[in-house]
Structure formats: structure tokens, C-alpha cells
Symmetry: C2
Subunit: 296 residues, 2 copies
């Protein structure tokens, strides 16, 4: 079995595990699967869950695509080779409750026709209201996972996430961050290809237990004002995904399956002109949406 | 008075006229004005109307900014000069009723430190349900305005709008189009600078009478399904503005006032995974969201 095939198989298993775990956690709704093929080569399994007990709308997507890179993508990746293979698992969950954070995860493997390869990925958390205890739990789980592979991973990837998940035009982070890494190969990590694959799978397996803790406040009631605030924070999430997110751009430019790419957008979102925080909780949250917070 | 000052004064008057006309048309709400200054030079008057009888959320913005261009903007405009002056009036209205279209208008003047200048602008209509009679009325008004200046304007600018107001990833137009033009100077139009300014003002003055006709179906009731469809169409509008709109990109990259730029986003929008049209009216609309429809 080629390494590409191994990655593909392990990522498919990861998608299955995560979907099973999330269905258990949700307790009401189930994922609906759409299998699709990409014209230029490859395809995927899009799995979407809607109107659950915990999750209002969420997707856990697997895709493995190959073919030739459009010029624009070659330029932005700074590569000259045409042929590519890209395989990944990508998740965004928008919960019903404003007391539960939005969460995102992605692990991906990229290989060029000339044999060059890299891994990328990350997990980040976007609470509607920042809870420093929950942020600490999230970051400590990510640090444990990273530390099993390299003591340099968490500190590097935490800063990377701060810089990546950033709404420049708002001068605010998308949430409390997490980890982000890209173009990781043996030369840049000190790990073998196989160990980097293990690391990616391990990041993926951190997802469900981490979100289980994050969703503990799902039982609390929600006022109208809290729902309004949630919809405004979701608006910021839409801004990030459509203006900055590289995965979204890559997907749209390589004629990916639009509905699979944009499953990351919430069922409902809102924009109010020049909204000012209406409560202490809202103000505290805005104060904490900045880089370089040490959540541990 | 320099030409820049003349443009600025006339655009300010245009903003006043349009706001007066829209308040009369709305009959309930009034514009709230925020004056702002830009750190790098200039400023604007943002005027937002919310929760009206006709308009759920809308903005009519005036701005006149100057300073030095960021490198990224110089590259995308293909200019090498640093100093710029940009002045414009920009409108987006999201009505309450799904039976009334979203509408956008923009007229702008751009001048570089070396004396080079151009006008740009456009009006386009985004009905939630396409009504071919109303689309015809809209296009015929725009054609009349254009024809007073050049018989070539409407045919050129109509095609330009089809190509510009296009959601590439969806392979659908944003709405029924209208007119769009950019980098228009004496050499490219056969008109003098002063005549081009007159044309811009005339485009602006076409706005209120055109929208008055478009809003005639405001009195009809709205079902839950029609509201849902409206929110989905608004989602597409958000996609266009954040992914493709040059004015939005220019504004965000030149550190414009974020709340003024993003006033174009609706109070509420929705994304449902892989939504399929649920009625004949929805299907007909999707069929008509394409380029090269002759609405006249």
C-alpha cells in the first residue's frame, strides 16, 4: 500500500470515529452522508448533522482529491509542479447553545508529483462567551497531544494559531485559538513521515473528548440577548471563513464541492450596525479575543 | 474650487437627496448618521437605517479619503503612484419583505497624485424572487440614464455587471444585474471629466425612483418558507460581498472604517446544507440567475 493510500485509509477511519463520537455526544441527530466525485480527480464523503440536541449545524468532511493545480494555487503555494494529491478531514460545529463554543478541526496531507509532501492541520475553539477554565482545559489537552511528539510543537503551533485565526479587519482573534500548523515534513519537524501521520491522527482523536468537556454548559437556558450575541459572533466566523480561511479559498479555487466547503457556515448569523457589548460577559469576551494569551 | 472639491460637494448633496427620498419611501424609520475620520487622511458620513417599514437594514455612505496606497492595492490597481484621493457614495438596502429586492448602488471618483483619474460605479438588483416585469423596468430606467450620455454605455455596462456581480463558486449571478463600470476617463468614454461627473450624479439620481417601483410588492404577506428563502438568498449576498466585492476588499485593505464597509451585510442570513428549491418560484429564480439575459 502506498503512503497516500495509508493516509487516505486512516483519515477515513478517523472520520468514522469522530462521527460516531459526536452522534453519541449529541444524543438526538445523526449524520447524513453525501458521497461526491470531483471532475478533475478524486472525491469525498461529506457528513452533515443538523438540528441536533447539541449541534445546530455541523459537518465532518473527508476528501481525497488529485489532479493538476490551477495557476493561482501554484502561485499561492509557491510550487511549480502540476500534479497534486490532497487528503483531509475537516470539521466545523455550530452548537445550539451560546454557552457552548463553535469548534473547528482539520488534518490534511498534501503530496506533489515530485514526491514532496507536507502535513497541515489544527484545532481551534470559538466560544461565544470566553470561559478561561474551559479555554485552559482545551489548550492543556492540545499540549498533551503535541508533547507526545515534540516539546516544540505546542509552543510553535499555539502562536501559529493566534496569527492564523485572526480577523485582521476587526483586530480580534476568532476565538481562544488552539493549534495550527502547515507544510510540516520530516525536515521541519524532526519526525518521520509515518510519525507525522500518527501525530495527525492523534490530533484528530483529541477532538471528541475535548468537545465533550466544552459542551458541559449545554443544559443552561439561553436568553434572547444571549442568542443575539451568538448570532453576531457567528457573523464574525463567517467573515473569517470567507475573507481569510485558506482551506475555503483553496476549495473554491480548485472547484471543490461548494456545499461541502461551505458547510462551515452557520444555519443563522446576524450583522447589526456598530454593535456595542451590552453586558459584562460580552465585554470580557471581546477583551480576551487577542493574541498571546497564555491559557495554561 | 478644485475638481476634487466639486466631486466631493456633489456627492455629499447626492447622499442627502437619496437619504431624504428613502426616508419618505420607508415612511417609518430615519437614518442615523456617524461621522468618522480616517487615520491616514479624510473621512466620511455613514448613514444607517434599521427596522423601518420597508427597509430592515440599509446604509447610504459617503466617504472622501486620501493618503498613500498600500502596496497590495497598488498592485491590484496596477498603478505605481503613491498618493490617492477616493470619493464615493455607496448604498445597500436589505428590505423586510422577500417580495422586494435587495439593491446596491455605488458611484465613485478616484484620482492619483500624478493627475490620472477615473470614475467607477454601478447599480444592481438582487430580487429574492425574480419578476421579469420588474427587472425590465429596472433595466429600462438604467438604459435611459446611460443613453443621455452615450449609446454605448448601457450595452457595455450591462455586460460588465453580468460579469462582475457573479458568484463564481455557485456559477450564478447575484441577481438580475444592472450596470457596472470602472476606470472610466475621457479617453475611454469620449466624455469630458465634467460630463462624467454629471453622468455619475445622474446614475445616483436614478436610484430612488427605481427602488420606488421595485418596492411595490412590499404590502404582500410573507410565509415562513418565503422568509427562509430570503435568508438563504441573503447568505449568497454575504458570500459575494466577502469573497469578490472589490469595494469591500479595497476598504478592508486600506484600513477603512469596518462598520461602514460591512453595513452591506444583512441583519439576518442563513446557510442550510445543500438546500434544494422548494417551490416553482424558487426554481424559476435560480434559472434566471445567469449572465446574458436580455431583460429589455
Amino acid at each position: 500500500m502506498s503512503f497516500k493510500d495509508t493516509v487516505q485509509r486512516k483519515f477515513e477511519v478517523l472520520q468514522n470515529e469522530i462521527c460516531d463520537g459526536l452522534e453519541k455526544l449529541d444524543g438526538k441527530s445523526y449524520f447524513k452522508e453525501d458521497r461526491w466525485k470531483r471532475e478533475g480527480g478524486g472525491g469525498g464523503r461529506t457528513r452533515v448533522i443538523q438540528d441536533g440536541d447539541l449541534i445546530e449545524k455541523g459537518g465532518v468532511n473527508f476528501s481525497a482529491v488529485h489532479g493538476s493545480l490551477p495557476e493561482s494555487v501554484k502561485n499561492s503555494l509557491e510550487v511549480k509542479v502540476n500534479d497534486f494529491f490532497a487528503c483531509g478531514v475537516s470539521i466545523v460545529l455550530h452548537p445550539n447553545s451560546p454557552h457552548v463554543p463553535i469548534i473547528h478541526m482539520n488534518v490534511r496531507y498534501f503530496e506533489l508529483g515530485n514526491g514532496n509532501y507536507w502535513f497541515g492541520g489544527g484545532i481551534d475553539l470559538t466560544p461565544h462567551y470566553v470561559d478561561t477554565e474551559l479555554a485552559r482545559d482545551f489548550h492543556s489537552k492540545l499540549k498533551s497531544t503535541c508533547d507526545r511528539y515534540s516539546s516544540q510543537f505546542y509552543p510553535r503551533f499555539k502562536v501559529w494559531a493566534d496569527n492564523y485565526f485572526f480577523n485582521h479587519h476587526r483586530n480580534e482573534t476568532r476565538g481562544v485559538g488552539g493549534i495550527f500548523y502547515d507544510k510540516l515534513d520530516d525536515s521541519k519537524s524532526g519526525l518521520t513521515k509515518e510519525e507525522l501521520l500518527d501525530f495527525s491522527i492523534d490530533v484528530g482523536q483529541t477532538f471528541v473528548p475535548a468537545y465533550e468537556v466544552q459542551s458541559k454548559n449545554r443544559i443552561f437556558p439561553c436568553t434572547e440577548q444571549e442568542r443575539q450575541w451568538q448570532l453576531i459572533r457567528r457573523g464574525r466566523y463567517v467573515e473569517f471563513n470567507l475573507v481569510y480561511d485558506r482551506g475555503t479559498k483553496f476549495g473554491l479555487e480548485t472547484s471543490g464541492r461548494v456545499e461541502s466547503i461551505l458547510m462551515s457556515l452557520p444555519k443563522e448569523a446576524s450583522w447589526l450596525y456598530d454593535y456595542k457589548p451590552k453586558s459584562e460577559k460580552e465585554r470580557t469576551t471581546l477583551d480576551l479575543l487577542r493574541k498571546e494569551v497564555d491559557w495554561l
